[in-house]
């Protein structure tokens, strides 16, 4: 049995076809205009960034040979043939690595505490007043937007060379980053418990402590651990400006062309970042597991 398919009259079809072609043409035109603008922006950016493809192709051999050199010991052999020679400074590097981890840990902890103190003022649903919210948000924005390494540059001059500058730089930057994330969690919290607590005559502080905090503490822990992961990477380059940690040794090795040291230190950093990621992932799993049960 055949199904009857109704075909519209020719005039009606023609009108619909014209409308469809116009819509497709308009969409294609907009897409073409957008792509054209993007390509134009790329060309302007290429000029601004002094991109030189001939330079790239000329020096790409340099890039390959650079990796060849950092994988070669001074005696001409490959680095993996003699681990003792490759990691000759492992004792010093591990000490500096421990310093890097301490810098990021202390910085993250200080940042998390300040973010915790400030985020209730920054959240729309819990802020005591609009002007206070505006002020705290601008403060967190400033702390978040100025790169941590700029703070480190300034603190190295104020506090002197060493890890203290790195800790303070990471702490301030983490305050801004975590403050924003924490306040977003608070804005997503259920306000009904707050109303319940307030109806018993509780103060603002008690509302935050007993109505908001139980809802958001799991998110706090998760974001703080994530921030610690990020700060380990950030602390590893604080040494570039004299703020302590393994970055100091790395930049010396790179600038003095100690090729095998460069690869050894890079491998050390990468392995450490992997281990930190795994550890914080495990800790987060434990915390969430516990949270889910209660």
């Amino acid at each position: 049995m055949t199904l009857a398919v109704s075909i519209l009259p020719e005039q009606q079809l023609a009108v619909l076809n014209v409308a469809y072609r116009k819509a497709v043409a308009r969409k294609r035109l907009r897409l073409t205009a957008g792509a054209g603008l993007f390509v134009a922006a790329l060309i302007v950016a290429s000029i601004g960034a002094e991109v030189n493809l001939r330079t790239l192709f000329t020096y790409f051999g340099n890039f390959v040979s650079y990796f060849d050199r950092i994988l070669t010991l001074d005696n001409g052999q490959r680095v993996w043939t003699n681990f003792g020679e490759w990691f000759w400074g492992w004792h010093n590097w591990l000490k500096l690595l421990a310093e890097t981890l301490l810098i990021s840990y202390v910085g993250t902890l200080i940042g998390a505490v300040f973010a915790f103190a400030l985020n209730f003022f920054a959240a729309e649903n819990t802020s005591p007043g609009p002007w206070l919210r505006f002020l705290v948000r601008r403060l967190l924005e400033f702390a978040r937007t100025v790169p941590g390494i700029v703070f480190a540059l300034i603190f190295v001059i104020a506090f002197g060379l060493g890890p203290m500058a790195g800790v303070l730089a990471i702490a301030i930057h983490s305050t801004g980053a975590l403050g924003k994330l924490f306040s977003e969690i608070v804005e997503n919290a259920d306000m009904k418990p707050v109303e319940g607590i307030r109806s018993t005559g509780a103060s603002w502080l008690s509302c935050m402590r007993f109505a908001i905090l139980p809802q958001v503490s799991a998110g706090y822990a998760s974001y703080a651990l994530l921030r610690f992961e990020i700060n380990v990477r950030e602390a590893s380059v604080m040494g570039f400006v004299g703020a302590g940690g393994i970055g100091q040794e790395l930049i010396v090795a790179i600038r003095k062309f100690y090729y095998s040291d460069v690869s050894a230190i890079l491998v050390t950093i990468i392995v450490t970042v992997f281990l930190i990621d795994i550890t914080t992932g495990w800790v987060r799993g434990r915390l969430f597991g516990k949270e889910a049960r209660t």
């Binding site: 960034a49 650079y66 001059i157 002197g160």
Partner: protein
Amino acid sequence: MRARYPDVFERPAAARLATPAMIVAAFAIFIYGLVDLDFSPSRLFNGLSQLGWISMMMIPPDPGSSLPLYLKAMGETLSIALLGTTLAALFALPVSLFAARNVVPSVILRFPVRRFLDSIRGVDTLIWALVWINVVGLGPFAGVLAIAVSDFGAFGKLFSEAIEGADQKQVEGIRASGGSALHEIRFGLMPQVLPVIAGQVLYFIESNTRSATIIGIVGAGGIGLQLAEQIRVLEWQKVSFLILMILVAVAAIDFISGKLRFAIIGRRAVA
């Protein structure tokens, strides 16, 4: 009720002590960190007074006669961010297909690709900048390549996760109509993941505007070079002006990027 749920009424001592023990341990490591990193009160106070003096010297922000130079450097920074992000996205898209579970089921191929992306992501952008400076010399070109390589790893991971999250029904539809594996990717997967990828690229352009400002600190061009120089010669009025320039530029990029993101993926997808 008490007999039925004994854990709720009488938690074991180990469970009750776990939280304060964890807090005490965290605090102990914190104190050890302060001591090991040489946080002495006198040093802190001296530093803070020095910082106060620096803050006083920063007011008012004043570019001196260097405004055209700073604007050019800011343009360089924006160029570095845009080019670096675009290059990273273009190279990461094909690689992310090999890292996605639903495109390449074989673990033997997917695992090394994932580890490769993780390794690249584990090295900071500044380190890549130093490497490229050794290769192509000082200047913003090294910055572009540093951001491109660094974000290649990040994009590879994000894109592969977006691909894994795509709806499989459309892919099955293509397969049912006789399409090949390439058709499945082109017509089944790409229309779903391109909006997500576009959003991520725009977010990274914002983020890389920040990265590009500090990449100059190691000689890769842009505003960071000027900032590092002025800090080292203690020109605090210029430093505060440069920091304000960075803040304004980042805010502007955030605004433009937000508008573009909504235009591309629509407000519904965000909400």
